[in-house]
């Protein structure tokens, strides 16, 4: 098993947090993981992106030219990275902040997740990233959900520990949506 995901959105959407979380969960599950964040002057407010690879083998390049899965949280990310996805790949996008009108490839499966709306229902729009990650895990079962929840305890900083239950709920909501609508 070897899965790679490219995650992108605005700085502040928690892109690096879910990338980190997925990698941490994989390591808890005794898998290899790499998390390679884009680290640039555009860090705050600008674009945020990272590549995550989860594998039961040694991971060579942490850089992926054509990702098999894109987790794209806004229109900019969708416009820029959808065309780079590998043929046969999967694109999960945040339909609250982007539309797929320009996504016309028939070799890439598409899943729309109204992540901001779902997150707002839970009580905090900032949980949109967790909704997206939940949907990803439903489509690509690379790590078990309980490991991801376990990893939350490590990744969420001490001062935000009270938000862990809401994060779990957001993961579940995303997962449920992804399970129902696994794209063909």
């Amino acid at each position: 098993m070897s899965e790679d995901v490219f995650m992108a959105g605005f700085g502040g959407q928690g892109i690096l947090l879910i990338g980190n979380l997925l990698g941490q969960a994989a390591v808890i599950a005794d898998l290899n993981a790499s998390f390679f964040p884009a680290y640039g002057p555009e860090k705050r407010g600008g674009a945020a992106m990272c590549s995550v690879i989860v594998s039961d083998r040694e991971i060579a390049s942490p850089v992926v030219g054509q990702p098999s899965t894109g987790l794209l949280l806004n229109q900019q990310a969708l416009d820029k990275y959808y065309p780079q996805l590998r043929s046969g790949g999967l694109c999960i996008y945040n339909s609250s902040l982007g539309n797929a009108r320009s996504c016309q490839r028939d070799d890439v499966r598409l899943l729309a997740v109204p992540a901001n709306e779902i997150a707002t229902e839970i009580g905090n729009v900032k949980l949109a990233n967790m909704v997206m990650l939940g949907a990803l895990l439903a489509c690509k079962p690379m790590v078990a959900m309980d490991k991801v929840k376990e990893a939350l305890e490590i990744i969420i900083p001490e001062r935000n520990k009270r938000f862990v239950p809401a994060n779990r709920e957001a993961l579940d909501r995303g997962y449920a949506l992804g399970s129902k609508r696994v794209p063909l």
């Binding site: 980190n20 993981a33 998390f35 964040p37 680290y39 002057p41 060579a60 850089v63 030219g65």
Partner: protein
């Protein structure tokens, strides 16, 4: 449950250093290595150590010089521009035969350059960044695990050969997180005693002097021959290198550090498509694995050197193969958006395999 951790490269190098008994760190902030001083400031006091943020890179390396002269296992870290500032102190430490570990998480240059990954400081690290003609042992980890493991190795090598050891990483392996299995440190039993360290005479008949000035007739030459002999010993004893598929390779790719990570995937892609491609990855840049290149070229006559710069290590590859093989180069100097992909390197392999 394994003891597998998920750790950032910049933190792994600190964990390895602390495990190896490093209790003193002096440094100055610069991107992309800030997690190193931040980690040390958090962890060293609790471990009975000292973290000090110096007023400059110049001061930091001289604090390292002092702590090393006092007998401690000591580390500093920086990125290109800061290493330039440390060059003075590094030369003095080399001349004074002082061990220390210096981490360079390379960023693009010249000048202020950029903060993304680059391997543009190969010459600076390998050819002696300061004045006077000295050598550092240069280790080039390509993973978070290797950053951890080689930090331990670096302290042992520094204490064995009495010189600063540089760990040459870059923004990619410094900033990325990976699985890490923290091994326990197994100290070599044959490291020389630091009887030269300054402690106060403490009843010794003679005071200890740590210095690099040699003014008497022939004294500096003798000192340099001594250092030279040590460098030769290092070349004989400490070459570290990973090789892949040398048995049947028709084309070799060679790269170090981050570039080697990307190249490794390109080699897998090439093998899957039936191309007999092998790989040489130097882990020590000094000593350079000259013999391994020479031996490999007895059957494979073409080497593609890949670097995140416009061609630095390739010069040492050419010297090593001594015209017995054709050495080609593909490089991308660092900068935002300039990281080569495995797909890109695979195309290069296809191209150079054919003609």
């Amino acid at each position: 449950m394994s003891n597998r951790l998920f750790v950032k490269g910049n933190e792994a190098v600190c964990m390895g250093a602390i495990a190896a008994g490093c209790r003193h760190y002096f440094g100055y902030p610069i991107t992309p290595q800030n997690e190193i001083p931040e980690f040390m400031s958090r962890e060293l006091p609790g471990a009975g150590g000292v973290f000090l943020q110096a007023e400059s890179e110049v001061a930091a390396i001289n604090m390292v010089l002092g702590a090393s002269a006092a007998g401690a296992r000591v580390m500093t870290s920086s990125s290109g521009p800061g290493i330039s500032l440390k060059a003075e102190g590094i030369s003095f430490m080399a001349g004074s035969e002082l061990p220390a570990v210096i981490v360079n998480m390379m960023r693009g240059g010249p000048g202020l350059g950029g903060i993304d990954a680059s391997q543009a400081d190969y010459f600076q690290a390998v050819k002696g960044c300061g004045h006077g003609g000295y050598r550092l042992i240069v280790l080039a980890p390509y993973s978070v695990q290797e950053l951890y493991d080689l930090a331990m190795t670096a302290f042992d090598l520094a204490d064995r050969y009495l010189l600063p050891v540089m760990i040459l990483g870059d923004a990619m392996i410094g900033q990325m997180k990976e699985s890490l299995i923290p091994r326990s440190y197994d100290p070599p039993t044959d490291l020389p005693e630091k009887s030269w360290a300054v402690t106060g005479k403490q009843g010794r008949a003679q005071g200890n002097t740590v210095k690099s000035l040699y003014l008497a007739d022939g004294a500096l030459e003798a000192h340099n021959w001594k250092l030279h002999g040590r460098y030769q010993q290092i070349q004989q004893q400490q070459v570290r290198c990973e090789t892949l598929g040398l048995e049947d390779a028709e084309l070799l790719i060679t790269a170090f550090g981050s570039a080697a990570r990307i190249a490794k995937t390109a080699v897998e892609m090439a093998r899957q498509s039936g191309l007999k491609v092998g790989m040489i990855r130097p882990i020590t840049l000094f000593p350079f694995p000259e013999k391994i290149y020479r031996q490999a070229t007895e059957r494979c006559r073409r080497i593609l050197c890949v670097e995140l710069n416009n061609g630095q290590m390739v010069e040492d590859v050419r010297l090593s193969v001594d015209r017995q093989a054709e050495v080609r180069f593909y490089g991308r100097p660092g900068g935002t958006g300039s990281m080569p992909t495995p797909e890109e390197l695979f195309k290069q392999l296809q191209k150079h395999y054919k003609d």
